[in-house]
Structures are given as structure tokens and as C-alpha cells.
């Protein structure tokens, strides 16, 4: 069968040095795919390569049968939107201004917003519940609000795929849940495909359709949460020693 998004012998890394080799995965439209694995394994590198921020060393990826590496920058911007860990710099911008930047691929030469663009901005903000703070300064809102504004911005690009690099890192538990519920809603309402990396294994397990385990230098496992989260696997993936496992069992952590 043909997948909506798939990678073909994709090898990613920096400066010609391969970090993760030979990635072959495929997902269907409207899937939430989560990358998990130890720090520094290469989750961000994979996401950056898929998002075309970094050229892959070998192989390629396809979206709807179209070769991603041969798409024009403009096409890419209408297909994929990013939410990064790194803070977006926004000087003297209201939340609405930030969200409106997502309309960039659709505006004319001077980037002026038409009424239709304005409506899309409002719609996106409504969808992630940030319309009530549209007039506030982006640098003065809470982390949870900021992440949702960033999501609204990404939605304004009208992408088919949203790529998020550790979107919940700085959020407390309430905001984490809120953010995840918004992602689920988008998936159901818009058929949005989500590719993200997460640190929180419990969230990943419960909210994802597919899990990609990024181990040392290679993909360790790819499948549904039930296939991946088997007894003893996580401690192996994260390279946790027996001593630590014993400690965790004693304290009832894992």
C-alpha cells in the first residue's frame, strides 16, 4: 500500500557525517507520529531534515508521492509548518501579528493581509483558543499560551503536516494536557498529520498513533504504541543500567 508520508533510505546528519542512517518509515494522513529516544540521539536532526531545514545526507522523503527534496521552497511552506523549541523572536508584536506571519506564503509582494487572510488568522486563533489574547504582546504571555499561539501560526500556513520539536518542554502539566488535546482536535477536524518529538513517554504512549524510537545511530523500532512499549524495552532504548532499574523499581518510578 502507499503511504501519505514516507521516507526512503533517509540518512541524516551534520556536515556530511551521518547521525542516523537508513530511515524507512511510512504513515497515513491524519496520523500522530512521535519520535522518542535519549537526548542527543538525533530526534531534532530527523525533524529538521524532514522539514528541509537541513539537507539529508542520503535518501529522501515523499509527501503524497511528491519528492520533498525537489519541492520549491514555496510549496514546502504551504505543505509543512514548524513549531520549534527555539523561541521565535518577536519584537513589539502582538499575538495576532505573530499568528499572521503564518500567512506569508499566501500574501502578495509586500506581505499585506487581505480580508481572507485576516479571517484565516482569526479562525486559527479560535481553533486553539487564543483569540481572547490576540492584542497582547507575544513576549508577555505565559509559556502555555505562547506554544498555542505558535501552533495557530503554523496552522495559518494551511499545512498538511505540522512538525513540532519538543512542543511541551517548558509547559506544566495543565498546559501539556491542553496542548495535546488541541493537537488531537486538529487531527480529527482537519485530518492534520503531526510529526513531533516528545520527552514525556506517558504522553507519547497515550496520544500517538505511531512511535519512532531513535536509538544510537539508527532507528531502533517503529510501530504502534502497543508494539513499542513492551516490558523492558524503554530501559533498553534509553540505555538504563540494571542498577538504575532496580532503584526505579524500588521507588516505583517506571
Amino acid at each position: 500500500m502507499t503511504y501519505y508520508f514516507r521516507t526512503e533510505a533517509l540518512t541524516v546528519g551534520y556536515d556530511g557525517k551521518a547521525l542516523i542512517e537508513d530511515i524507512n518509515i511510512g504513515i497515513e494522513k491524519g496520523t500522530i507520529l512521535t519520535l522518542i529516544g535519549p537526548n542527543g540521539a538525533g530526534k531534532s536532526t530527523i525533524l529538521k531534515s524532514i522539514a528541509r531545514q537541513l539537507s539529508p545526507i542520503a535518501g529522501t522523503a515523499y509527501i503524497d508521492k511528491e519528492d520533498l527534496m525537489h519541492m520549491s521552497p514555496k510549496e514546502v511552506s504551504k505543505t509543512m509548518a514548524l513549531v520549534l523549541t527555539k523561541k521565535l523572536s518577536a519584537e513589539m508584536m502582538t499575538c495576532r501579528d505573530v499568528v499572521a506571519t503564518g500567512r506569508y506564503p499566501y500574501t502578495g509582494h509586500f506581505g499585506l493581509l487581505s480580508d481572507e487572510d485576516e479571517n484565516k488568522v482569526t479562525e486559527a486563533m479560535e481553533l486553539v483558543n487564543v483569540l481572547e489574547i490576540e492584542g497582547q504582546d507575544f513576549n508577555k504571555i505565559s509559556d502555555g499560551q505562547r506554544q498555542r499561539v505558535m501552533l495557530a501560526r503554523a496552522l495559518c500556513q494551511e499545512p498538511d503536516i505540522i512538525i513540532l520539536d519538543e512542543p511541551t518542554s517548558f509547559l506544566d502539566i495543565k498546559y501539556k494536557l491542553e496542548f495535546m488535546s488541541v493537537l488531537q482536535k486538529l487531527k480529527k477536524m482537519k485530518g492534520l498529520t503531526v510529526i513531533m518529538s516528545l520527552h514525556e513517554l506517558d504522553l507519547a504512549r497515550k496520544l500517538s498513533d505511531k512511535i519512532l524510537c531513535v536509538g544510537d545511530r539508527a532507528i531502533d523500532k517503529f510501530g504502534s504504541p502497543d508494539q513499542v512499549f513492551t516490558e523492558g524495552y524503554i530501559s533498553k532504548l534509553f540505555n538504563i543500567s540494571d542498577e538504575l532499574i532496580a532503584f526505579a523499581k524500588e521507588k516505583n518510578i517506571l
Binding site: A51, R52, Q53, S72, P73, K74, V76, S77, M80, A81, L82, L84, K86, L88, S89, A90, E91, M92, M93, D97, T101, G102, Y104, P105, T107, H109, F110, G111, L112, Q157
Partner: protein, 336 residues
């Protein structure tokens, strides 16, 4: 909409400010020229002192308008480029680099009794700007800290100034007077030919910059987001370097280095507008720079008349506190 009103008012204020400053610059001086005379003269009627008006004051005032605007715009571009609110052509040593090459070329050519055209001066200054900016760019790969980058820029500026002094030592007495005045920064003695050349270069650079407003607005968000929005970040960075260098080269070629306008004016204008959108900031910075430099030049030549101060002295008095203020506010934000 409230915002639109604020933008309109800001632009009206800036334009009125420039016009007012222009009139003052034409009226005030060792010879007072009344406003009525200026209006008559513009209409084409002969008035007393119209040679002073048209041969001395008008080209000088126009030079201040054109070069002040280009300086502020160059500063705005550099701030956008480095994502750093205190970057500017003077602070980063770019003006000093331009000054060095211009001095070198001037001394060499004078020795061979070759006069230099204003176009040649611009090209020399442009090369000098690029050399300094190249150094700053190399530095910026290693230092990401905002203050450290500025410190390295200031150091590059000092090195270039030292080399310039050295070059001036090799010049003969007649040249020294010329070079010395010029290297301190002054608009005095601007000719109409100079005005035409600078107007042409700055106009092209300004329009080009203005056409870049949209990609610049994406670049402001950060490079990853800009490239995700379809911006060719590498090409854009090259263009910003080119345009900011040519703009700051113009001022050095015609008036010598003028300090702090590039940092202070965009900041003040941004506070007036209440937004950092390039499409508004580009023309507003230009107008703000014109106003600021016109007023500073007026003060420079009238405060201790008949002795003239260098423009740079006056711009520093007003500009440097603004830079200090930005740095203090930034450090408070970092703590928070």
C-alpha cells in the same frame, strides 16, 4: 483602527519634522535668511543672499537629509541582520573601515595629483565597509552574545582608526587639513554634484530595501522560521550585507563617519510606531534619520559659530544615551 491612526500620525510628524528642520537649516546661520526670502527664492525671484542659500545651505541640508536617512536605514538593516538592537554601522566598526580605505585611496591619489570623483569615493568606502563587516561576520560565528559582538565591532573600529591615523601621517600638510576635517565627520562644503550622486545611489538602495520588506519581516522571526516560510535565507543575508554596506559607505564617502545615528534613530522610531514591521520601519527610519541629522548638523554649525563642531560630536551627545538606555533595558529583560 487605532494602530493605523498611530502609524499615520507618526509619519505626518516625521515629515513635518524634516520640513521644519530643513527650513531652520536654511534660515539660521552667520547670515539670517528670512523664511519669506526662501519662499520667494524657491519661486524663482531673486533675493538678497540667494547665493548662500543655493550654493551653500541648500546642498548641505539636502546632504544631511539623504545621508542621515541612509545612515539610519543602514543601522536598521544591521540590527535586523544580527537580531541585535544595538548593532549599527558605527558601533560595529563598519564606518571606520570605510574611513580607512577612503583615507588610503585619497592620500595615494593626491600624491599622484589625481582628483577623486564622488563615485570613486563611494566605491572605496563600500570596499572598506565590506572589509569591516566581513570581520564582524567572522566574529559573529564565534560570539553569539549581543554585547560581545558589539565589543568586537568597537575593537575593529579602533584598529581601523589607528591605521587611518597612520595613513594621515604620510600625507603632506595641505592634505592633512582636508583629511582631518573629513575624518571627524562634517557636511560642510557639499557640492551639488555630490548631492546628485548620493541621491541617486541612496534612492536605488532605499527602493531595493523597501522591496525586501516582506522577506525581512519573516527573517525577523528567526532564520529557521524564515526558511520554513519559503525565504531563501542565504540570498537575503547577502543582500542585507550589500545594502547596509552601500548605505553606510555613502555617508562615509561624503561626510566622514557619523556616530550613533544608526542605532538611536531606528530605536526611537520603533517606539513611536509601536511596531517593528519592516514595511513601516524602512521609510520611517529614513525620515527619522533625516530629521535627526539635520538638527544635529544645525547645532554643530551654530552652537559655537563661527567655529564648527563635527556632526559626530553632536549625534553622539544625543545618540549615545539612547544606546545606553537600550542596553540597560535589555539586561533587565534578561534577568526577568
Amino acid at each position: 483602527m487605532n494602530k493605523k491612526r498611530r502609524y499615520t500620525i507618526t509619519f505626518i510628524l516625521l515629515i513635518l519634522g524634516v520640513l521644519l528642520a530643513l527650513f531652520l537649516s536654511l534660515c539660521i546661520g552667520s547670515v539670517k535668511i528670512p523664511m519669506a526670502d526662501i519662499i520667494e527664492s524657491v519661486k524663482g525671484n531673486p533675493v538678497k543672499n540667494d547665493r548662500i542659500l543655493w550654493d551653500i545651505r541648500m546642498p548641505r541640508a539636502l546632504a544631511a537629509i539623504i545621508l542621515g536617512g541612509s545612515l539610519a536605514l543602514s543601522g536598521y538593516l544591521l540590527q535586523t541582520f544580527f537580531h541585535n538592537p544595538i548593532a549599527g554601522p558605527f558601533v560595529l566598526g563598519i564606518s571606520s573601515g570605510a574611513k580607512m580605505v577612503v583615507a588610503l585611496v585619497m592620500v595615494f591619489l593626491m600624491d599622484h595629483a589625481i582628483g577623486m570623483s564622488s563615485g570613486g569615493l563611494i566605491i572605496a568606502a563600500f570596499l572598506g565597509s565590506l572589509i569591516s563587516l566581513g570581520f564582524v561576520l567572522l566574529m559573529s560565528r564565534r560570539v553569539t552574545n549581543m554585547a560581545m559582538l558589539v565589543v568586537s565591532g568597537v575593537m575593529i573600529g579602533y584598529i581601523c582608526s589607528a591605521v587611518t591615523e597612520l595613513i594621515i601621517n604620510f600625507a603632506n600638510d595641505a592634505q592633512i587639513v582636508n583629511l582631518h576635517n573629513w575624518s571627524r565627520g562634517s557636511f560642510s562644503g557639499t557640492s551639488w554634484t555630490g548631492v546628485y550622486v548620493m541621491a541617486a545611489v541612496v534612492l536605488v538602495a532605499f527602493i531595493w530595501t523597501f522591496l525586501l520588506s516582506k522577506p525581512l519581516s519573516a527573517y525577523q522571526l528567526g532564520e529557521s522560521y524564515a526558511s520554513n516560510l519559503g525565504v531563501n535565507v542565504k540570498a537575503l543575508r547577502g543582500l542585507i550585507v550589500f545594502l547596509s554596506s552601500i548605505l553606510s559607505a555613502c555617508i562615509v564617502a561624503f561626510a566622514g563617519p557619523v556616530s550613533f545615528v544608526g542605532v538611536a534613530v531606528p530605536h526611537l522610531v520603533k517606539s513611536l510606531l509601536g511596531t517593528s514591521k519592516p514595511i513601516l520601519m524602512i521609510p520611517a527610519s529614513f525620515l527619522g534619520g533625516s530629521f535627526f541629522v539635520l538638527i544635529c548638523d544645525l547645532i554643530a554649525r551654530t552652537l559655537f559659530a563661527p567655529t564648527e563642531l563635527s556632526v559626530s560630536t553632536v549625534t553622539a551627545v544625543f545618540g549615545a544615551p539612547v544606546v545606553l538606555f537600550i542596553m540597560l533595558r535589555r539586561s533587565r529583560e534578561d534577568v526577568r
